[in-house]
Subunit: 285 residues, 2 copies
């Protein structure tokens, strides 16, 4: 099968799998099959954009299943939409792979489209290329929407706010990512700041604190069964939400209060009275 044939096959799979989603995203005027996708925004909405790469030997191994890689590639970007309180609208998928076998490409899209359907994310286009070496590389861009001026940001935490995380931290890589879209949407108008945990609690909390110009004191971390506190603090594959609420706000179901925003040098963090350094995953360290 040649490139035209493969793209046509992906287009058909995308249509079948998103007939339900399309009802929820009628504003995609033109999807896969032209130079650009055409999207007609609704009045009174801001749009959110994020893009995340999944690279063989960095974010996954060749032994992982293609469907799981595809699902995870979309899940990582959806986690960013969740962190801003958004509702997903559509995605663009760029895939470069050495596999000339269309079965691998199909399985990758099958995994991705399954999550797309479940979250109302319409596949609107992308780019398919040969990778030029023996490694697979993909990049998924997602557009989400939120009421005008209501997006959650990482720069609004205030001294005295309580700090929360969703779920438990320190998950192993092969645990499915469940983007916290419903939680993020429920935080709109309530949370003062929010970020997703994509590089580890210590590094992402550091980013939130620097953006907000505050310091933080952490006194507990919810840990998944089998993981160490060290991994929960510095591991990098959790995709939970880290957010701040006014001091008197009640704890939401499925979340844990882990500490307090304090006055201090921006980005300074303490864990149980000891200095906590940002040591999450850094691509260029």
């Amino acid at each position: 099968m040649n490139e035209i044939g493969i793209v046509e096959r992906i287009r058909q799979m995308a249509e079948v799998s998103t007939q339900h989603a399309r009802v929820r995203a009628p504003h995609l005027i033109l999807g896969i099959g032209d130079d650009c996708a055409i999207f007609r925004p609704r009045d009174g909405e801001d749009l959110l954009f994020t893009t995340d790469q999944m690279i063989e030997d960095v974010h996954f191994r060749s032994t992982h299943k293609a469907a799981m890689i595809g699902e995870r590639a979309l899940a990582r970007s959806l986690s960013d939409i969740a962190a801003m309180g958004g509702e997903p609208r559509f995605c663009l998928v760029a895939l470069a792979t050495p596999e000339k076998n269309e079965k691998w490409i199909e399985a990758f899209y099958r995994g991705l489209l399954r999550l797309a359907k479940r979250t109302g994310t319409v596949p609107a286009g992308g780019d398919l290329a040969h990778s030029g070496n023996d490694k697979t590389h993909c990049d998924v861009m997602v557009c989400g929407a939120v009421k005008r001026g209501r997006a959650l940001r990482r720069d609004g935490a205030r001294v005295g706010d309580a700090i929360f995380v969703s779920g438990r931290l320190g998950k192993p890589w092969d645990r499915k990512i469940e983007p916290r879209l419903a939680l993020g949407q429920s935080l709109v108008g309530r949370a003062t700041a929010c970020i997703d945990l994509s590089d580890g609690l210590s590094l992402d909390l550091y980013r939130l604190c620097v953006a907000s110009g505050v310091a933080a004191e952490i006194d507990r971390v919810p840990v998944v069964r089998g993981a160490t506190v060290e991994r929960a603090l510095h591991g990098g594959e959790d995709y939970e939400l880290l957010f701040t609420l006014p001091a008197k706000a009640r704890t939401l179901a499925g979340t844990t209060r882990i500490g307090t925003v304090v006055r201090g040098s921006p980005g300074e963090m303490m864990f149980l009275g000891r200095r906590l350094e940002p040591r999450g995953y850094d691509h260029f360290k």
Copy 2:
């Protein structure tokens, strides 16, 4: 320099280089530095989205200059925006590179930002990663805008329309790409169909004809000095516009009438009386 430092450096470069562009794109509420970029659409506009990969050993070689690679990566996506008649708004850049040397990354962005500034494309975010092997890979997503319902598409060519291309075809790879944004915008409301020449005239004309359900007869091709007609027909690095106008429309400056849309099997093409096969660049042939 670590990842936080490199991203901060790119953010500063982007701000300095787009102060002018920002005036033209005040609707980017939040750019580089949060989980997502926030964009506030204007009333009465449709948005256009495209993404294109540039891969080492497929689209460029390691001997090419970083600034040229960066500029070309953005130019290829801008060419898609031009083909739909759009005005560029912002871009997201995903870059995976083995170079730990920030000088290479900086030069890549310098080239990309130079073209971004010149075309009013605001850099709004992206993703930076280590490539996991010795190859560089980038993916540039561009958002453009066009008046509601006025985007140029590839599916509107009608029997009897005249077929045009801009510029001359068969360019060598190292010729600068100049995205035909002004021409594309001037075709809105005039052209019946439009596509950019990214994979060679024969393949892109085939795509336009299939989408429109028509056939085509070509009787001439404008060739750049030093190139063959064969290369002009099937070469893949032109990034000119291929478009159709009603039969009686006048020829626009800088464009050449190359043939006519005819009745026939969708995608059937003739060149000077002989069958023309779609033989442009196919990643999976």
